[in-house]
């Protein structure tokens, strides 16, 4: 009898662990109801309306299943209403991309190039997504199917693109919003293969003046 108990012990422990973990997960995140979604959208909209400038540091993690470690890059991001966005990678390499009117300006460690995005649908879409995700103003039902969940601290919203061209590159975006401030904490872009890019924002400053010259290459 005793030996039978011991024989089953690992399986019992495994079962208990699984149970505890799954309770843990469901306690962490739960689906939001219609009223909560309305509140979130209103908060994000109010914030977006009074936000004309955002400056933030970020850390980017590129995860690919076949790698031992995620590839970590760091930098600064700046947004100025209505349409100026700058991503500046500073470590472990220098690379800046500026979305400006109909152009993408790139400075790759001193090599400057210009891409005319008027003729390039994908880049244009990406540029739009970058702006929307930075502002947290992405609730566009024509473009995305959305799933709303929340934890004690965060709203966790999954956006599944409807556009077949975007879908080829990105299966879904997952945005974490701080519940109090409705500010976007992180953006995760998940590829159809389940590899992903996670961008975590830090040290965010809102509406602190920034010159247009910052968006020149």
């Amino acid at each position: 009898m005793r030996s039978l108990k011991y024989k089953h012990m690992p399986r019992i422990i495994f079962f208990i662990l699984t149970l505890v973990l799954s309770i843990g997960i469901s306690a962490q995140e739960r689906a939001m109801n219609t009223q909560e979604i309305t509140v979130l959208k209103a908060k994000v909209k109010t914030l977006a309306e009074k936000t004309s400038i955002i400056q933030s540091d970020f850390v980017q993690y590129k995860h690919m299943d076949f790698l031992a470690n995620d590839i970590e890059t760091k930098g600064k991001m700046a947004y100025k209403s209505p349409k100026l966005v700058k991503w500046q990678y500073t470590a472990p390499f220098e690379y800046t991309v500026i979305f400006k009117q109909d152009q993408i300006l790139i400075n790759d460690g001193g090599n400057k190039t210009k891409v005319d995005i008027g003729s390039h649908k994908l880049f244009k879409e990406m540029s739009q997504l970058v702006i929307s995700s930075v502002k947290g103003d992405m609730f566009n039902e024509e473009k995305f199917n959305m799933d709303y969940r929340q934890s004690t601290k965060d709203y966790v919203i999954t956006f599944v693109p409807k556009d077949s061209m975007i879908k080829e590159y990105i299966g879904s975006f997952v945005l974490h919003f701080d519940k109090e401030s409705a500010i976007v904490q992180s953006v995760k872009m998940i590829e159809p293969t389940s590899d992903y890019t996670l961008i975590v924002f830090k040290n965010r400053v809102i509406n602190s003046p920034i010159s247009d010259a910052e968006f020149n290459n």
Binding site: Q60, K62, M64, F66, L67, A68, N69, I71, T73, W87, Y89, P92, F93, Y95, V97, D108, G109, N111, T113, M126, Y169, I170, M189, E191, D195, T197
Partner: protein, 194 residues
């Protein structure tokens, strides 16, 4: 002294071949993610991203290039020396470019090559190895096994060379790939320091 009819090895001194094969072990550790900032100049157009090379097992390498943002540009594999294209962005899906990348990256990661001749050129030991209907030449300094350069050439002309410009503890930290017969150059800068 023996002179050779081959234009590439003109002026080289032939040496007794003391090895069956020549080894390039810059991409041979399966525990390691080889991550590089990659910059390419194709006919005056620049583009770049991140190149990741990973040895998955004895006979398999995978190489993925992504943009700085993380979106995938290409995804290639070499399995038992056979190239396979798992993905390439539509804009770059051009036969000549893919053929060139297959050739360059295939030579870059190939660990063991048959040694068919050995030469001395100045301070260098040069090992010749057959590559399809051409040859690859492996350059290292005499008395030092660290590989400095691989050149691909026909009997008469150099086609492409890979220079391992900076190396630390067996890790190639800065690599230049230059083509002699087309305007295509690449630079690879190692990103993960240990």
């Amino acid at each position: 002294m023996i002179s050779c009819g081959n234009k590439i090895t003109q002026g080289f001194q032939q040496r007794m071949l003391q090895q069956d094969e020549t080894v390039n072990d810059y991409f041979s550790n399966p525990q390691k993610d080889y991550v590089y900032k990659m910059r390419m100049e194709v006919y005056g157009r620049f583009f770049g991203g991140i190149l990741i090379i990973k040895r998955l097992d004895e006979n398999q390498h995978r190489m993925v290039m992504t943009s700085e943002f993380g979106s995938k540009i290409f995804d290639f594999s070499f399995i038992n020396g056979e190239f396979s294209k798992d993905y390439i962005m539509e804009d770059l899906d051009k036969k000549l470019l893919i053929k060139t990348l297959e050739q360059d990256l295939g030579i870059l990661i190939r660990e063991r090559s048959e040694a068919s001749r050995a030469f001395e050129s100045g301070k260098d030991l040069v090992i010749r190895s057959p590559w399809e209907n051409k040859y690859t030449y492996y350059y290292s300094e005499l008395g030092d096994s660290a590989l400095n350069k691989i050149m691909l050439a026909s009997w008469r002309k150099p086609k492409m060379e890979i220079r391992f410009v900076e190396k630390t503890k067996g890790q190639a930290e800065f690599i230049e790939i230059h083509h002699f017969n087309m305007k295509l150059d690449m630079e690879l800068k190692y990103l993960v320091k240990e």
